[in-house]
């Protein structure tokens, strides 16, 4: 008797192991109702998507939409992809991860999706530039964009009569003026290395060509030629920052700006919900970072914050398209825009958040360019390289940084550069 129990326990444990090892795959169709599973990566937008999911399911009997918003969604997605467990739609940012997923042939060509005609061309072009080598077809619907530049405390600006600068010299003069009033012009949270990229991106769109990374991969130019001025100017900003900006984190900087400890904060619109959580009454507006002395060259740093891609092995393409159509309905776009202070990628009249007032002309005219770091491989840690450079007081700091940028780029992008070389050999007439 006793023996049998032990045996049964052993068999049970074995069965457990085997079933655990064999747990894979998922069904997506039952009783004629098609289930579409969507994973979205923005933790800030969980509530919005819950509401949208509910609205969709109330109006559709034949399709059931399930939207998941896991914490640290990018890591979750990657681990799911390792197990070859794919959702039907992913809503991610237009950054290097998109390039990599696309390069791994994970996405479906959706050029026959009718909704694409309503999307602003500038954002579709950004996705094209994210392809390592030019590909046929469209693989993502840009949904929401964000805008990065300089957030400023409108109340403070009105109180002292400061004006929005349109050139680099004006910007520096403004910083001097603010400092002279005894107010802190800028606040940085450079301990979180990624925040080093906020001023970097905002200035690089003005000073460097938007396809600089592709050009470098094709061997046409170097970063040293294009980024020197960006790097130099970012270091100059330190003169107007708080004492020891490397000691403070992103949260610290948001809190400080929210409490009126600084007049301006160089960061993207994505920081506004965080700032408002500290001080709900703060009146924020933002302007385009004027890194160049030619106002014509200064454009808005805006990228695809959220775009929708259908996975290559989605079985119910029509149902997936129906979800995309639903999400792109004006009413739903406006709902998202209101909640997240986002910039819609869809053409049409939408009411934008007041904190985008000074950026509106740029958005309407389409004078914008993508974040340059969307092309940087994450493992290269350009953000940490910028931090290293900003902390480096030696005279050769700038030269060292530029040299490092170029050498490390080659090392981390070896496989991509090889691909671009092969492509240019096969298509000698392109570009």
């Amino acid at each position: 008797m006793k023996k049998r129990t032990v045996k049964a326990a052993g068999a049970g444990a074995l069965a457990l192991v085997i079933s655990a090892a064999g747990l894979a795959g998922c069904g997506s169709q039952d009783d004629g109702v098609v289930t579409i599973e969507m994973v979205q990566y923005k933790p800030e937008a969980v509530d919005v998507f819950e509401e949208l999911e509910q609205r969709f399911n109330e109006t559709h009997d034949d399709i059931r939409l399930v939207i998941e918003s896991p914490n640290d969604a990018m890591t979750i997605l990657k681990t799911r992809f390792i197990r070859e467990d794919y959702p039907d739609i992913v809503a991610i940012g237009g950054d290097i991860n998109y390039s990599n997923f696309l390069d791994a042939n994970l996405f479906m060509d959706i050029s026959d999706f009718d909704g694409l005609a309503d999307i602003k061309q500038a954002y579709l072009d950004m996705d094209k530039e994210l392809e390592y080598v030019p590909m046929d077809g469209v693989y993502a619907v840009p949904y929401m964009a964000n805008a990065a530049g300089v957030l400023y405390n409108r109340e403070m600006f009105e109180q002292y009569g400061w004006n929005i600068p349109t050139t680099w010299d004006e910007f520096i003069a403004l910083c001097e003026e603010i400092q002279a009033e005894g107010v802190q012009p800028l606040y940085f949270g450079y301990r979180d290395v990624w925040t080093c990229l906020a001023p970097w991106n905002a200035m690089a769109v003005d000073l460097a060509p938007s396809d600089v990374c592709y050009q470098v991969n094709a061997g046409e130019t170097t970063f040293a030629e294009n980024y020197r001025e960006v790097a130099d100017k970012q270091k100059q900003l330190l003169d107007y920052a708080q004492n020891d900006p490397f000691a403070f984190s992103y949260n610290d900087a948001c809190t400080a700006f929210a409490r009126g400890e600084s007049a301006m904060y160089v960061i993207g619109s994505y920081a506004v919900p965080q700032i408002r959580s500290v001080n709900p009454d703060i009146d924020i507006d933002s302007f385009v970072f004027p890194a160049s002395n030619d106002p014509e060259e200064n454009i808005l740093n805006s990228g695809n914050d959220l775009q929708l891609s259908v996975m290559a092995n989605c079985e119910n393409k029509e149902a997936a398209y129906e979800v995309l159509r639903f999400l792109l309905e004006d009413e739903n776009v406006q709902y998202y825009v209101d909640d997240q202070s986002a910039v819609p990628c869809k053409k049409g009249e939408f009411e934008l958040a007041s904190m985008l007032d000074s950026m509106k002309p740029y958005i309407e005219e389409g004078r914008l360019a993508d974040y340059q770091d969307h092309h940087y491989p994450a493992e290269m840690s350009v953000d940490a390289m910028i931090q290293t450079y900003l902390l480096d007081d030696s005279e050769t700091a700038l030269d060292d940084f530029m040299e490092r940028f170029d050498t490390e780029w080659v090392r981390y992008n070896r496989d991509v550069i090889r691909k671009v070389e092969e492509y240019t050999q096969q298509h000698p007439d392109s570009e």
């Binding site: 052993g10 192991v17 997923f101 301990r191 020891d244 994450a378 493992e379 931090q387």
Partner: protein, 293 residues
Amino acid sequence: MKNGKMKNDRQRTFMLITIPVVVLFFFFNTFPLLRGVYYSFTNFKGYGSYEIVGLRNYIDLFSDGRVGNSYLFTVKYAVVCTVIVNVVSLLLALGLNSRIKGKTVLRGIYFIPNILGGLVVGYIFSFFFTYILPYVGQALGIEAISSSMLSRESTAWFAIVLVGAWQSIAMNTIIYISGLQTVPEDVYEAGSIDGATGWRKFKSLTFPLIIPFFSINMVLCMKNFLMVFDQIMALTKGGPSQSTESISYLIYQNGINGGQFGFQSANAVVFFVVIVTISVLQLRFTGKKEEQL
């Protein structure tokens, strides 16, 4: 005959207990390890298609400045931490093992850091280093701590040492206390007749008798500190200037978040070999010095 059958039965029972565990261990430990070794020969990004690249990852490892720095930092951190932790916890154990009032309460208090999560402790210390310590430094006019320790390359690593040590001293103290309790009182009595007191008593009697505990502490400490991760995540995220990137942090950061799954698998394989080697050497070295009563 009957005896043989019983032995057989016994063996079968043992087998039935052992096999499921072995299978579980194989599936969740050995198999992933072997997969990792396989991926270390590819340019796998963590998903999608990949190619076998032979030894390229291993060759790259030895020419990669960032990996080199992470090894230097981790070893420096582990050695300094191990020394500090063992010295302090041995002293604490000696104190807490002596006849003092409220011994049990004190033991309980000293054990608290161990039951707190690494990240929680990290975030609390992060606040301490960023706001409280500089404030104290400025108030007292002490230059060295009047700006955040975490924002300077020269001090950030030591801040992490402090937090790591603060947390692991608890467990090591408990192991030392249990070690000290295995030393029978009559040894001390015999020693005191021969005139062994104070430092002599510790050096010639106590320490040799707790060497097994010392060696287990050294090995555990070294292994834990070489794999430092939580504290870095909470305190510096590898900064400033990438000066506090530990090996585990780099493997996680670039292998999972970045697209270097293959390359960092190679790093993990090398790291595994390094840890095994260090642990074996340590056990050999201290094992030779053990005394038996």
